[in-house]
Amino acid sequence: MSLPRWALAFADESGHTSNSDSALATVTSLASLDDRLLVEQAQAGNRPAFEELVRRYDRDVLRLALNLMKRTEDARDVYQEAFLKVYRNLHRFRFECSFYTWLYRIVTNVCLDHLRRRQARPEDQAPDLHSGQFEDGGTDFFECQREKRATLDPEQHLLGLEIKSRLAAAMERLSPRERIVFEMKHYQGLKLRAIGDALGTSEETVKNSLFRATRKLRNELGILR
């Protein structure tokens, strides 16, 4: 089984072993445990078990954070804040729901806080979609979208660009809750019931949020038609 380099690096940093073979064995054995056992070990103070839990879900967490926050710096903040909250509060987790649901509850709350704070600061609104530069040297993903399709039929390309641009701008105007629901449904592939669990609300409320979000976005596109 080939493990990514960071997995071994984590095992080494934990101080439990300095030998890469034994580190590999530790990581492999932890990787074979189900969430419940890992959570129990982490609750007992086992740091590698906690790190294994992080590795299981942090890719999804970062993806959600990036797509909601649109800026790598904000996404990194959300990632750190969310997992530190998980670490500090893991001893309170009582298996009343799945760890995944509990984790997403924390992550979505952190995202909501960040989005609300951003909304409250007019000078710190959504990133300039036409800036052409993404943080950390990356280019803005909508700009990339344009470049990527530049060789296609120019007319279709322009229409497609306009639609996507409008869509992206309309998404920025959704309420934080509507954005999260839309993101988790269409880009994270979660069921509405699971989204309700994560947000600590009913499936019906989530359904309403999704409906409103879809209507707002479709109205934006409708202008182009």
Partner: protein, 371 residues
């Protein structure tokens, strides 16, 4: 178009199409939608738009694909997290379930019921505890009350200048003992209320008793009444002895002796009794001194295995001979001196009653020694 044959109107179906395209309808809704769509072109058209929209949003290049295509950002996040975890000294471990967690949860969820229950518990508890405390206070001995004694608040200067307007007794609500209320008129009128455990109250009372010439005899008697319950206290006893020896009023001296009744076996007290026998001008006081001395000898006898042996046999008319022996431990208040003093009184006391009482006391002592 709604042909009228469908179960649901278009508006209702249209609102469900959003969820139909993303597979968030139940079987019943799905069946209703599909049945409607089969006959409604308008809703079919709207379904197509919903699907186009779905395609459009899915085709958007996502931020995560652009920002972290190679996973470098993820690795960086993990590394930063590991560093922060290192900074946290001790990971919190699973906390124990707090006691009565279920009760707390229930109370949080039912605030009205919780409030009603608490009020009920308060009422029942209050009624029951009052009854319990009442029953208990009857059983508590007077001296079992524990009091924290504060430091003295009345200065010596205030004591020397004070005049006592009145001493009253009120029953203590807690121990069944009496509270003393002393009204003082010094530079400013002061009223002290408290039990004899209160150091200020005790200081004022003993001061009055020891300095009888400055206070009204009625006040002195009241103070002695209050202090007799604390005759075992060294400070109080000194004051009582002083009053028994020096007070100008025989009633006060008599009361002071009575207050010392339970402490009559003490050497200092016996000495004071002897002095009262020999020097007190009031026959009532001398008789009380005789009585208390007899009592003190009884106490001493019952405390000791050896019988009392009077040191010498004074010649008694019509009475048994009292044998002397060195049984007393005090020089001045020893049994010899007591018997000698009784004998002296029996023969020379100007009061006939005192002479008779002394003779009777000598007979009592002699009879006990014969047993």
């Amino acid at each position: 178009m709604n042909t009228g044959e469908q179960n649901k109107p278009c508006a209702e179906i249209a609102s469900l199409l959003v969820f139909y395209v993303c597979d968030e309808v139940n079987e019943q809704e799905r069946a209703a939608i599909e049945q409607h769509l089969a006959n409604c072109a308008a809703c079919q058209s709207q379904l197509s738009e919903e699907r186009e929209f779905q395609t459009a949003i899915v085709s958007l290049v996502r931020a995560d694909e652009q920002a972290d295509p190679s996973g470098i950002l993820l690795a960086r996040c993990r590394s930063e997290l590991a560093e922060k975890l290192d900074d946290l000294k001790r990971p919190p471990t699973k906390e124990k379930v707090p006691a009565f967690a279920w009760l707390r949860r229930w109370m949080a969820l039912h605030p009205a019921w919780s409030a009603a229950t608490l009020v009920l518990f308060g009422l029942v508890g209050g009624v029951q505890s009052t009854q319990w405390l009442t029953g208990r206070s009857d059983a508590i001995a007077l001296d079992q009350t524990v009091n924290v004694r504060p430091g003295p608040r009345i200065t010596e200067d205030q004591l020397s200048k004070m005049a006592v307007a009145g001493v009253n007794f009120t029953p203590s609500p807690y121990s069944g003992s009496q509270n003393v209320r002393v009204q003082l008129s010094a530079q400013q009128p002061v009223e002290l209320t408290g039990s004899l455990d209160d150091s200020d109250v005790r200081r004022v009372l003993t001061y009055v008793v020891e300095n009888g010439d400055r206070f009204d005899s009625g006040v002195r008697l009241d103070c002695l009444d209050a202090l007799k319950a604390r005759a075992e206290d060294a400070e109080v006893r000194v004051a009582l002895l002083a009053a028994a020896r020096k007070d100008q009023n025989p009633a006060v001296r008599l009361k002071a002796l009575e207050a010392l009744r339970d402490a009559s076996a003490d050497g200092g007290v016996r000495q004071a009794l002897l002095e009262a026998l020999q020097h007190d001008s009031n026959p009532g006081v001398r008789v009380e001194a005789v009585n208390l001395l007899v009592r003190s000898l009884e106490t001493a006898q019952s405390d000791s295995l050896a019988p009392l042996q009077p040191p010498q046999a004074p010649q008694m008319t019509g009475g048994p001979m009292v044998q002397a022996s060195g049984g007393g431990s005090d020089v001045d208040g020893s049994i010899e001196n007591v018997v000698r003093a009784f004998d002296e009184l029996r023969r020379n006391d100007p009061s006939r009653y005192v002479r008779l009482r002394s003779a009777a006391a000598l007979r009592e002592i002699s009879a006990r020694n014969d047993q």
